[in-house]
């Protein structure tokens, strides 16, 4: 064998891959060729240094640590998948409804169109709050369901925005509240509430409802929710992490941790559209969210009929219209206490005079008809006394209970003294007419 052939066999010799014959020839050549011997020595040295270096690497087995991490991560993923499936389960429930099937079909179409637009423009990298906000620029209709652990049925919201992105119209269905089920429609000009249990229909507008609606909208309009998050992130109140699964069919997750309070939030984002599919809120280390908001039917036009109660409420409902008529009595120069007493006095005087229109206007604004239906049977004939008003802070800053005694004529024709529980009167900034006093209960 010549030198070049021998040198090609260095590794084979070191690895014990040569046949006995080749090995003999190899060793014989090295004995006679100093250059090859020197070359082989160099390679052998490197081989020994590598063997020795490998032996010196002392490692602690990480097998268990790796395995624990894998199990841990796998559990996390399963949990995520579970959440995703829960969303699907709810979706399936909704799909049973024939009308929503069409709506869902429309959503799918819109999602496809939206995703085409998005992919034409950019290739998503990581999910940022800004991107989600941006995705909402063209969303004008949305439908939200909020599930809470202590509620049997979800609260449901429908929102319509105008081209400037401001909320135009909203509808809220709250099946479980202290007052029983409530259906609310709202526009910046008019709010309507149908108290199903009390069977009353309140038409009004006030700073209070304005604030309440604003809060509800801020909590359920994803764009506003995201803008608030961004503010909190910039103020250093929250930490934000995003998880973007490679599989684009799985939702991306924005994980928000509050730095001081034990609160966490998970935002599940549809990777094709950048729109929120659900939000989960956790108030401590609990594994179950206390609130789950699901978002449906993005941009499926909502019929304007949904934003008015006209066609839904029963005919016999008690209409309390505070918007189209001047209700209550004016405060004028009276103190709050005097105004409260005067309200009660004028109410009973109206009953004595059988002026049910006036009584209705003082009684929160119910119709003359309803006032008659409700109070004529009392047959009030005289006011005996009107006591000192006692503040009712739970009903508002300017709310009082006014104990009183009135004379009534019973069904047997006998005069009696009747002490109502105490008409509750109210005025204040929260009301439709802040300077006017009404009776809101207690009779």
């Amino acid at each position: 064998m010549i030198c070049t052939e021998i040198r090609e066999l260095f590794v084979d010799y070191l690895e014990g891959l040569l046949s006995e014959k080749q090995k003999l020839q190899f060793e014989l050549h090295l004995k006679t060729c100093c250059d090859c011997k020197n070359e082989f020595y160099q390679i052998d040295m490197i081989n020994q240094r590598l063997t020795s270096a490998a032996k010196k690497i002392s490692i602690i087995s990480i097998e268990n640590a790796v395995f624990d991490k894998i199990i841990c991560k796998q559990n996390e993923r399963l949990k995520q998948a579970e959440r995703f499936n829960r969303g699907l389960k709810i979706m399936r429930k909704i799909m049973k409804n024939r009308i929503t099937k069409f709506a869902v079909a429309a959503v799918i179409l819109i999602v496809v169109i939206l995703s085409l637009n998005i992919f034409e423009k950019t290739v998503p990298t990581a999910f940022g709050i800004e991107r989600v906000i941006e995705a909402y620029n063209n969303i004008r209709y949305l439908h939200v369901k909020e599930y809470r652990a202590n509620r049997q049925e979800p609260w449901e919201f429908w929102i319509k925005s105008n081209e400037q992105g401001n909320i135009d119209k909203a509808r809220y269905y709250l099946p479980e509240t202290e007052d029983g089920p409530k259906l609310i429609t709202w526009t910046p000009e008019k709010a309507e509430i149908w108290f199903k249990k009390k069977n009353s229909h309140l038409i009004f507008q006030s700073i209070k409802i304005e604030k309440w609606m604003k809060t509800l909208i801020e909590q359920s309009q994803p764009k506003l929710v995201m803008e608030k998050l961004l503010e909190k992130q910039k103020a250093g109140i929250i930490d934000v992490n995003t998880i973007t699964p490679a599989n684009k069919q799985e939702p991306a997750v924005i994980h928000v941790t509050y730095k001081i309070i034990p609160k966490q939030e998970l935002y599940f984002i549809n990777q094709a559209t950048n729109l929120i599919s659900s939000i989960e809120l956790y108030d401590d280390n609990s594994s179950e969210p206390f609130s789950l908001r699901e978002f449906y039917e993005y941009n499926v036009p909502i019929d304007d009929k949904m934003f008015t109660l006209k066609d839904e409420i029963p005919e016999n409902v008690t209409v309390v219209d505070q918007l189209n008529q001047l209700i209550g009595i004016p405060q004028g120069d009276m103190t709050d206490e005097d105004a409260a007493k005067e309200t009660v006095r004028q109410f009973f005087q109206a009953l004595i005079d059988k002026d049910y229109k006036k009584a209705g206007l003082i009684y929160a604004g119910i119709s003359e008809e309803k006032a008659k239906e409700r109070f004529a049977k009392l047959n009030v004939t005289a006011i005996i006394s009107i006591g000192t008003p006692v503040p009712l802070p739970e009903c508002g800053l300017h709310s009082f209970r006014v104990a009183c005694e009135v004379e009534i004529v019973g069904a047997d024709g006998q005069k009696k003294i009747w002490k109502p529980y105490g008409p509750a009167t109210r005025s204040g900034d929260d009301e439709m007419h802040p300077d006017r006093w009404i009776i809101h209960g207690g009779i």
């Binding site: 590598l50 490692i59 990480i62």
Partner: protein, 171 residues
């Protein structure tokens, strides 16, 4: 004979994560040595090694050629090292200007060799890692990488030559 990488990967993909332990055992030293060639900080290495295996496990389904598990694994280690370099700025490529921090801890470490090793092209480094740190014979490497044994010995031979040149330049 121990099960092939391909067989173990198949078992893992079949929903038996416990089998991944064999692969961790088999390549832990190689991954450690690889990451050591990228960094001087031992604490970070252990974290990086664990991260490499965890990431590999969850991406096993992306592994197109099951035979090339070791090269794929080292590719992941490379990414992990890069990320740590970006995040912590203390995961430095070894070159003549950086001395490994472990020098004081173990004076017997062959730093010349480590430095030269760090400069090898990936394909050469990979074969040396498998041969010496994963302690695989040329035959096993050939089987695992699905290549003829002659190619393994030739690559090893070239890796030695290059390492030798790098060591001479360093002197």
């Amino acid at each position: 004979m121990a099960e092939s990488d391909k067989y173990l990967v198949e078992l893992c993909l079949d929903g038996r994560p416990d089998e991944f332990r064999h692969l961790v055992r088999r390549y832990q030293k190689a991954v450690t040595a690889y990451l050591a060639s990228k960094s001087g900080n031992r604490t970070n290495i252990e974290e990086a090694v664990q991260e490499t295996f965890v990431r590999a496990y969850f991406n096993l389904s992306d592994l197109k050629k099951l035979e090339s598990f070791p090269s794929w694994l080292l590719g992941i280690a490379k990414n992990v090292a890069k990320e740590q370099l970006r995040n912590k700025a203390d995961f430095a490529e070894l070159d003549s200007s950086t001395e490994p921090q472990t020098k004081e801890q173990n004076t017997e470490d062959d730093f010349e060799l480590q430095r030269a090793f760090a400069k090898l092209p990936d394909s050469y480094r990979e074969i040396l890692l498998l041969r010496f740190y994963a302690n695989q014979s040329c035959q096993q490497i050939a089987e695992n990488l699905d290549m003829p044994i002659g190619s393994v010995t030739k690559t090893l031979s070239r890796a030695y030559s290059q390492l030798r040149q790098l060591l001479e330049v360093q002197k």
